[in-house]
């Protein structure tokens, strides 16, 4: 990448971050309140009745909810913002009249998604640590998983927003595909507790790899961290390429 490309990525990133900071009060509500609700209702309420062996249910749940936070703060914001930029204020067209390449713009959006997910994760980790005394293990390792997963879901946000032409369809896809993902991918219950026939499918989803990785880091169990990380990154790259492809097809007529 040359300096022009880097400047383009940063320009898009800066615009998105400006928007994010401008709506910090709303974003902060969503960042802090939503995941905490899950922790309190499921973790502390329902959790008392759940037997997870040698860890409490809240300890089991926290790394999972962390990745729900990552998903929401990358996929949701990026897909919405891109759809607005393409269809509503049509600023995407404008950006493309500047000397820039489509993939630089996409990359800028993905960087913004990763940054936002990272910020939300830090807030969540701190809140859980100070409120409940639950720690997440080796943070640098965890950050690698957060970045990879956020990149995956930002790319997915680009691909889906660019593929669909209607904000209502975006909402439907989100609630039928992305939300269930967080319910099945080992966030609330271990994948091994699901019916056997569906387990291979769920195991193949990058989010499952991320949740299992995070849980391994926090609880010190699973040894397949590197494999999981590489698996997520390969998927990210594939979805990124698909996203760029659809982006070009939709925006450059």
């Amino acid at each position: 990448m040359n300096t022009r490309a880097i400047k383009t990525v940063l320009a898009i990133w800066e615009r998105e971050m400006y928007e994010y900071m401008n709506n910090l009060h709303v974003n902060a509500m969503r960042l802090a309140v939503e995941p905490l609700l899950f922790i309190f209702i499921f973790g502390m309420g329902l959790g008392n009745r759940v037997d997870m062996g040698n860890v409490s249910y809240v300890e089991f749940l926290a790394p999972g909810i962390l990745f729900m936070v990552v998903t929401n703060n990358s996929y949701m914001t990026i897909s919405m913002r891109l759809m607005i930029a393409r269809d509503w204020d049509k600023t995407l067209v404008n950006a493309l009249t500047a000397p820039v390449k489509p993939f630089e713009i996409v990359l800028g959006y993905i960087f913004a998604g990763v940054t936002q997910a990272l910020a939300a994760s830090v807030i969540f980790i701190l809140l859980i640590y100070y409120l409940l005394g639950i720690s997440f293990g080796c943070i640098p390792l965890l950050v690698l998983f957060i970045v990879a997963t956020a990149a995956f879901f930002s790319s997915l946000g680009v691909a889906i927003a660019m593929w669909l032409d209607n904000p209502h369809h975006l909402m439907v896809v989100t609630s039928l595909v992305v939300m269930p993902m967080s319910f099945f991918c080992g966030i609330f219950i271990p994948v091994t507790d699901l019916p056997e026939w569906i387990q291979p499918v769920i195991e193949a989803i990058p989010l499952t790899k991320a949740v299992e990785g995070a849980r391994a880091i926090a609880l010190g169990t699973d040894p397949y961290l590197l494999q999981n990380l590489i698996y997520i990154l390969i998927f990210t790259f594939a979805v990124f390429l698909v996203g760029i492809h659809i982006f070009k097809k939709k925006v450059i007529t």
């Binding site: 400006y18 509503w88 049509k90 600023t91 009249t97 500047a98 000397p99 820039v100 390449k101 007529t253």
Partner: protein, 308 residues
């Protein structure tokens, strides 16, 4: 500056641009005149890299738009037909974030944003949102934004559509100012008057084809008769004799009876005087109307229908 050869754009079965050729010279205002759906926006979008041609070439300052999109876009500013302003940002920030994509330093960019706002006489509106501006202000701002990167070529897609006559005239001043600054301007319009007043050269485009190209005067000369003299008088007094006399006069192209008098088509202004002298002295005239040809007539002549 711009050279377009055999450019074709198909949307599925539909051909929006059907093999057009034209050339825009450095420093001129070149007009694309045509009705709705003629293919004006499509052509501009191809030049701006927003659309890919189906075949043919478009060259900007020596570079092919499909092969060197970045190089071409660096020399180009475009004011698209849709205004494309970010509703969440005030107009100053809108210009700022657009300018950021041109790789300028922050200091330089801020200076240019201020210059652009001043040029558009909107420096007191910098904190306003785009939709809070009047139509005329909006168009000025869109043109100013196209100038942010100080490009050599500016594309303006229908810069005055929807404006009242006064605002339109004002925008014209701004477009003339672009030319004075040495910019090459390619604009589209469906206002004949606008093309006539602003443009050095015009292409008339219809159904994706250029049906005529030239200076406004050259285009008007396509018509057989330059000037139409429409005289109202009692039809009974028009004798065969008068008609014959007029027909024999040199410079008169045709003489036709109309239901309120007589219509005479003549070559130029000196003939008008002769004709009037010969008629006024002999008859009682109810009214005289001298009509110089407009681009509207040219369009009518070329396509057999009115533009709107």
């Amino acid at each position: 500056m711009i050279e377009v050869k055999e450019l074709v754009k198909n949307y599925g079965e539909h051909t929006a641009v059907d093999g057009i050729n034209f050339r825009v010279r450095k420093g001129e205002i070149f007009g694309f005149l045509g009705p709705n759906g003629a293919g004006k926006t499509t052509t501009l979008n191809i030049l701006a890299g927003l659309s890919l041609p189906s075949s043919g070439t478009a060259i900007i300052a020596g570079q092919d738009v499909t092969k060197h999109p970045i190089g071409c876009k660096k020399r180009l500013g475009i004011a698209t037909q849709d205004s494309n302003f970010d509703h969440h940002l005030n107009i100053k920030d809108n210009l700022f974030y657009q300018g950021l994509l041109y790789g300028l330093s922050r200091k330089e960019l801020k200076r240019r944003v201020e210059d652009a706002l001043r040029w558009a006489k909107l420096e007191n509106y910098r904190k306003k949102r785009f939709h809070q501006l009047s139509g005329g202000m909006q168009r000025r701002l869109v043109v100013a934004r196209a100038m942010l990167s100080d490009p050599e070529i500016i594309l303006l897609d229908e810069p005055t559509t929807g404006l009242d006559p006064q605002s339109r005239r004002q925008v014209w001043m701004y477009i003339k100012d672009l030319k004075e600054k040495g910019k090459t301007v390619l604009l589209t319009t469906h206002y004949m008057e606008e093309a006539d007043i602003l443009c050095d050269r015009i292409s008339i485009i219809d159904h994706g084809r250029i049906i005529a190209c030239g200076t406004p005067d050259e285009l008007k000369r396509i018509l057989d008769n330059d000037i139409l003299i429409d005289i109202s008088l009692n039809p009974e007094v028009i004798s065969e004799h008068i008609e014959k006399d007029l027909n024999n006069m040199s410079g008169v192209n045709y003489v036709k009876r109309s239901n309120h008098g007589i219509k005479i088509g003549v070559g130029d202004d000196s003939v008008v005087e002769q004709v009037l002298n010969s008629i006024i002295t002999k008859n009682k005239i109810n009214g005289i109307n001298i009509i110089h040809p407009t681009l509207e007539d040219v369009f009518l002549h070329l396509t057999g229908r009115e533009m709107r």
